[in-house]
Symmetry: C2
Subunit: 435 residues, 2 copies
């Protein structure tokens, strides 16, 4: 297979969406045009940039002449070789991606919501059927070269578990709560004023964003089709500064984790929840808005990939990597590996196992500890440590359990709620790496 010199070839790229990421991408395609031509095997020319509003403010470097509001026409243009979708959300992004793939054009996207939807499954199938690339490194953990590592480097590896800090907003909030002892509400307000959290922070703080990424990881790391809706999900809004302080003095830090792990021969558990992570664990040191994904493989052992999970330039950097890949594959007549996926057998939450942190406000009188521990014991939940603080009015009991079935822990909590000596059940959180 002989090649004409790279400079004689040209691939025309349609860019759909020109927000932070699209704007940064257009800048990189211009500034690094020569280097990218060498890497891609062809010059990457911008065929057009589809936007919602031609007159919205944009960086200087975005050429006005390339803007169009007709994304569908841009995708349908036969002169377009590759489509980059950065609009986000389900529609019109989904239809545009479908149209591009259907006509045999590779697509690069950062759209986690689309990929984690039922449409995502269909779009991957369509890409395979048409023999074109559908690449989405930027959809999980931004600039971190995670998808390619899983798809290519670790493709021969049997992966047992993937645990990720994949949402920068919640990691920023939890880091501030840990380092400054601040409470959730005030740190959320700070994150909002810094532009790190949306005015409606639900997608981040309730774990929806992380759940979509967990679903994508289940596909890339384990080869299972999982929809974002099927991911067990718990957010960080219930975490108190008392929970954070207990974790801190006990050698843990609280992180919102997206976890995908094998369970038994056929089962898979895909979930998002806050967890107590021991200080010595590599994920514990991931601060502020950074992301990291910790991978446990049979031969490779423990791996972690760390970096910026969001932001225009870092996300655009991941898009550029995919774009080079798509270009090279297009010129070579191949595609990136995209193995078959199977539907996942998701393990019910009640069958999962973990050590638990459980904080209870109780009456400060004799016999309380006995009543409470009896509730644990009657469901086979073994206590590893208990700490008591009295404050005159009542007392707080903080339990750390040995590894227990979640169903048993929930039954214990139901019993505890029924005890009149228990005033309130405070924080309940899983512990990572406990035995």
């Amino acid at each position: 297979m002989t090649s004409a010199p790279a400079t004689e070839r040209c691939l025309r790229v349609a860019v759909l969406g020109c927000g932070n990421v699209g704007g940064a991408l257009v800048g990189i395609l211009q500034e690094r045009a020569d280097a990218l031509a060498v890497q891609s095997g062809a010059r990457l020319a911008i065929a057009g940039i589809a936007v919602h509003d031609l007159d919205a403010p944009r960086p200087e470097h975005v050429p006005r002449a390339l803007l169009t509001t007709d994304a569908a026409a841009l995708v349908a243009d036969p002169a377009v070789d590759v489509v980059v979708e950065l609009i986000g959300g389900l529609e019109p992004a989904g239809s545009l991606v479908r149209s591009a793939l259907d006509s045999g054009r590779p697509v690069v996207t950062a759209n986690k919501a689309l990929l984690a939807s039922a449409d995502g499954v269909a779009l991957r199938a369509l890409a395979r059927e048409r023999g074109v690339d559908l690449l989405y490194e930027a959809a999980v953990a931004g600039a971190i070269p995670l998808v390619r590592a899983l798809r290519e480097s670790l493709t021969g590896e049997r992966i047992h578990r993937v645990m990720g800090i994949v949402n920068g907003t919640t990691n920023f909030i939890l880091t501030k709560m840990d380092e400054e002892g601040a409470d959730y509400v005030s740190v959320l307000a700070e994150a909002q004023s810094l532009g790190l959290a949306e005015r409606d922070p639900t997608a981040d703080v309730e774990g929806y964003d992380a759940a979509a990424k967990a679903a994508i990881l289940a596909g890339v790391a384990f080869g299972y089709d999982v929809s974002g809706d099927a991911v067990l999900r718990e957010g960080i809004t219930g975490i108190s500064s008392d929970d954070v302080a207990f974790a801190r003095r006990s050698g843990y830090v609280i992180k919102l984790l997206a976890i995908v792990e094998r369970s038994g021969d056929e089962g898979l558990s895909v979930r998002v929840h806050p967890a107590l992570v021991p200080n010595a664990h590599p994920l514990a040191g991931v601060r502020d808005a950074f992301n990291a994904v910790f991978i446990e493989g049979e031969a490779a052992g423990e791996l972690m990939l760390y970096g910026q999970g969001a932001g225009g330039l870092p996300t655009a950097s991941a898009v550029v990597g995919d774009l080079i890949d798509a270009s090279r594959n297009l010129l070579a007549g191949t595609t990136a590996p995209a193995p078959d996926r199977q539907p996942a057998h998701l393990v019910p939450e009640s069958d999962l196992e973990a050590g638990f942190y459980i904080s209870l406000d109780v009456a400060d009188r004799p016999g309380v500890l006995g009543a409470v521990t009896t509730a644990f014991g009657s469901h086979g939940v073994s206590i590893r440590s208990v700490e008591q603080e009295g404050d005159g009015q009542g007392a707080r009991l903080v339990f750390v359990t040995h590894r227990a079935r979640e169903g048993d822990v929930r039954a214990t909590l139901a019993d505890l709620r029924g005890l009149d000596v228990v005033a309130r059940i405070g924080g309940v959180m899983r512990i990572v790496g406990s035995s």
Copy 2:
């Protein structure tokens, strides 16, 4: 391009060397044969395993019938499709790799010494000329998918700096010195008894191993040909428990780093030395024999890849990733990207800049501090902090400088050596991330 079902194809793999890595590789190729066939597009059959001694003890799973002592004949066998070189060292490994590439067969190797030698440059050129893959993910940082991340995901990225903990033995020693307050000699002995350090530990503790990996990183991350011999190199044998204790109480941890960074428009600095790393830096949390590489890119920002840098199974895992890649490329008639490399303009050590930690044993009498600080000042080395400890006999002064030219710091040290109030210059170490 249509493909026959994967199971109908077969690629024959020659395995050269059957130590820890080779033995683990043979095991993975057998145990995961079906999964690997799907990933590779062909069944990977072991054509032969070249060993030095047929009768050496080996794991049960290594088929005796495939062993041969004639590596050259195995490589020359026209039935062999891919060659995996795990012998290590320059010869005969170099000639065998040359012979395989010359006859158009892709090679996967974990041989950092070979790749960082002058032969390595020639072998990469030969692979390009013959249009075949020469892949070496396993040569730097073991199981960590670093080479592919740099070669593919970050290929569009302008990388400013790469800093790696790439030698597990020295990181184990430094971790123990930090966590247990032990001295170098006793921890080295412990590492030797655990099999983590060689009886002759020179290659690890003097930084030769890390220097070879730094040279390879200069190629993969920056596109420059650098030989391991050209890498500035300083080991860990001079680090005292006092140095470690100072670092600890000042919020640092000492790590042996391989650093490759751009300097000015054209220059490159490639070096290995111990450095004080701030506790909040992601590299500071890399403990024991783990490896990690921290990458600073223009668009991607800060990235870190962490994992096991050595060991049979983790290294074999990286070899398997490359083997799948080589197989897929062979079947598709393509090769992995292997851009042109240029000779590097290496920056002289004296022009590099860093903050410095400098520990001096001095006479405990008036005027000493003045004499010493004058020496710093006369070379324009600005002092950020100084700490004094007296012990009756004499005193110790520990300086931390602002960022300074290394040439100026060395001139300062020469002056200090000439002062009769300076009894001894103790630890001198660069600080990472200082301003």
